[in-house]
Amino acid sequence: MLHHARAALVRIRELFRSRSHSAAEQNDEFSFHIEMETAENVRRGMNEADARRAAVLRFGGAQRWAEETQGARGVVTLDNLARDTRFAFRRLHRAPAFAAAVIATLGIGLGAAIGIGTIVYGVLFRDLPYDKPEQLVRVGFITDGIGISGDLHSSATYFHFAKSARSFTELGAYWTSDDFNVTDGDAPERVTVALMTPNTLTLLGARPLVGKLFEPGDTSWSNVRSAILISENFWRRRYGADPSIIGRRIDINRGARNVIGVVPRSFDFPTPAVDIFYPAPVPVKTAQITARGFNVIGRLRDGIDPRVAAAELNALIPSLAERFPAITPDMLQRSRARVSVELLKSATVASVRPQLVLLGVLVAVVLLIATTNVINLFLLRTERASQEIAIALSLGATRLAVAERFVIEGVVLGLASAIVALPVAALALSTKFGFTAREIPRLHEVSFTWETAALVLGCATLIGTAVGLIALTRTGLGGLFDRLRSSRATSSRNWRRAQNGLVAFQVAIALVLLVAAGLLGRSFWNLRNAKIGFEPRNAMTFQVSLPWNGYTSYADGAVFHAKMVDRLSVLPGVMSVAVALRVPLAGRGASTLDLQLQAGDGEGRPTVASAGNMASADYFDVMGIPLRAGRSFRSGDLRGTPAVIVSELLAKNVFGTTDVIGRTIKQSRVGSQPMSFTIVGVVGDVHWERIEDGYAPMLYFPLQRGGDGLPSDRSAVPGRPMDVQYVIRGTQLPSTPTIQEIVKALDRRIPPTNIRTLGSLVDAATARVRLTLLLIAIAGVAALLLGVIGVYSVVAYAANSRVREFGIRLALGAAPTRVGGLVLGDGLKLVFVGIVAGLAAALGTTRFLRALLYEVKPTSVAEFGGATALLVVVTLCATLVPARRAARTHPAVALRGE
């Protein structure tokens, strides 16, 4: 015991003693020795010079002993480290294929793992950037019984809970809108507005960058303060971070408002896209539970559990009927009304949690595979170097030195792969694979930071060290004798079995990904070549939203649009211009009509769901939608029974035929009489929301130019053209500034938005599939690469350890091809197991891709066969290399090795 403690003490002392001091002492000691020896030699009768030479000779070169003695003292010096690192570089330089394989495997694996891991962590686990985030909850109101999905509140339920609940210090309600135009200054702008009860910001713990936050009275329309807050982004973008912003009047849809403060960028509630925070009342106009649109969040009182709060709110539901007589207990029961209380953090990311967790697991598996492959490659290398090691040991190299060699090689390779991993991680974190906070909440909070870089370097070093150490234990430095006794055999067998399993697994994963990539590739091809029903080339579109003040009637809007069309039509290169409520494939955010239609003459015939649009006379011509029968719209089509045009699919769905000109179609409306229309034309079908959904049944209402074609009775008009799309076809399309100039000249408050070519709409419609295809294809190629490296290293390792057997076989007259066949057989067995497992897994999983597949079955034989063939060919090539080497084994060399 004491003995050990003493040894430890000496070691510690050595650590603190500077090396030069130690070396100096040693020099003293040695020169003393030589001096004494010289004196002794002189005493024996030598002359001075000979005596000295003899003494030095006997000492055998002071420098060498100095080094050895240092080694024995247990000081690993920086000099040694630098030298060993140089050696490691030199050795790796001599094995470029090995080094490249390791660096690529580990670099890509680690980079992807850290990049995606950082995203998963940042989205799922990092605390929200608000005060005491563990107290913040989202309160949902759920009514499964009446077919309203989601967890939004009605004004009545929010009011009730905010008044009565004791579990919360505050409950706030908010919703967002893109329906606001800011019209101060020269350039009108479409903005994103968060409307909220004034307490919402304070309950989250927001602190203004400049100015103040809302006060409770700010929601009242008569409040002279007319307060709004703006976001830091909007402040910088539109006002150049003007410090005198406080008190500035801003004209927005609902009149002039005063800016009272700026909300910092770091506080990005509810989304980072918000430009303006608008104080809004939640008035209980009609006490219903069906009209819902409020997100409700709350701050729990200290020590209150979300479940306790949920229980309290659920108990308060029956008393809704007491506070609001319009809400009956029967209605509450029938709707199965209940309340959910979930931590705000998990509620924010609930929609993407399963996918992200899956992604995290996948990434961990990839890293595991990459590391295993690297270990296999290392083992293969050390197996080949085992003789060299044995010689080094017998020549007197210490085991520590040999061990050091392995670890340093591992660390050097680890750090080299960090050079690959860093840009991979940075790329993953900066592109975020094309996703935005719109699809994945909180994604904007994630970025590449110094911590990420440090994590990459740390992991690379750690994995490098671990790989070096594992390689070391497997070559049995500690067991030179073990090797003689061949006791490694059993542990080797287990190890090899694990290796084989992992490689088969890699092959399986590669196959699944390749099949998926094949299916998505075909799907993408089909989408690009789908007959979408309109001509996207040489055409563009943009959106205009008319403000409510100034455009109160159908005619006001119609006149504006007519002027716009006239001015756009005379631009050089423009052939035709049209207006519609919406264009196909315009994506979310554009307004759309959902109609319930019935044949006008067929009482009791089923109602058919249809999409609706409103189109000017030239719309079909400009879009390139063919007119199959009848005519397009003309002036006066809104008089009497208004005219409509139907798509072929709608005609078939409602009447069972496309011969429908002159027939009547009825639109059922909630809470009023059905409205009847006369069909004047039939047009070709278009893909409406998404290409994947195929053709949609469409009903077109006339969008008239105004003037004497309009009826005087407003109730006879189906909707008003307030938020519309212009479509322009021409050999030369107008530039964005030209369009902005033309709109501004008519009304300086209106910003044209979503200025795009029709082609870009089609691109965007296929973007989801393209992105997924790209990701899966990259993953597939990476998995294929990993699989190839895995198969190669395992087969080569196995072949290497059988080299003596091959030698004997060859010496006894076996044909080289037979020996090669043995190795090939080993490899094929692995690949076969992997492919069988992979095919089974692919059959089980490709159906999850169904939503992304277009006109290709998830079990398409061509894709399964193609992927399998590719995998077989590639892995066969990986097996051929060691097989050929085995066939060329020289018997004498193999046997001499032992």
């Binding site: 002794e40 006997r58 002993w65």
Partner: protein, 111 residues
């Protein structure tokens, strides 16, 4: 150690010799070589390449300790001395060495 007639049997006995030498009186490295030479009547000649690493190893293991001192003719030298652990180790090593040589003797005599 031992240049003349080096055999495997003697390898490793250097530690024992050092401990034995130091058990009498603290001594510097050169003194140790001289003493071993004298005591073995010139048969054993310590290889210096083994001596100093052995001294360091023994010190690291806590069997001996070292201090700087001055010699009779006023030269600075590092003196090594036996620690309590070293003294115990010496006892054990001597025992096993004796058993080893007895065994060796018996075998050699019987043939």
């Amino acid at each position: 150690m031992t240049i003349r007639q080096q055999t495997d049997a003697l390898r490793g006995s250097l530690d024992l010799l050092i401990l034995k030498t130091l058990s009498l009186v603290p001594m510097h490295g050169w003194g140790i070589t001289l003493r071993i030479q004298q005591m073995s009547e010139g048969i054993l000649d310590v290889n210096l390449g083994s001596l100093y690493p052995a001294l360091q190893r023994l010190e690291k293991n806590g069997l001996i300790a070292s201090d700087w001192g001055t010699t009779d003719n006023n030269r600075r030298a590092r003196y090594y001395r036996l620690t309590a652990a070293g003294r115990r180790a010496l006892g054990q090593e001597l025992d096993s060495w004796k058993r080893f040589t007895t065994g060796l003797d018996a075998v050699l005599r019987s043939t």
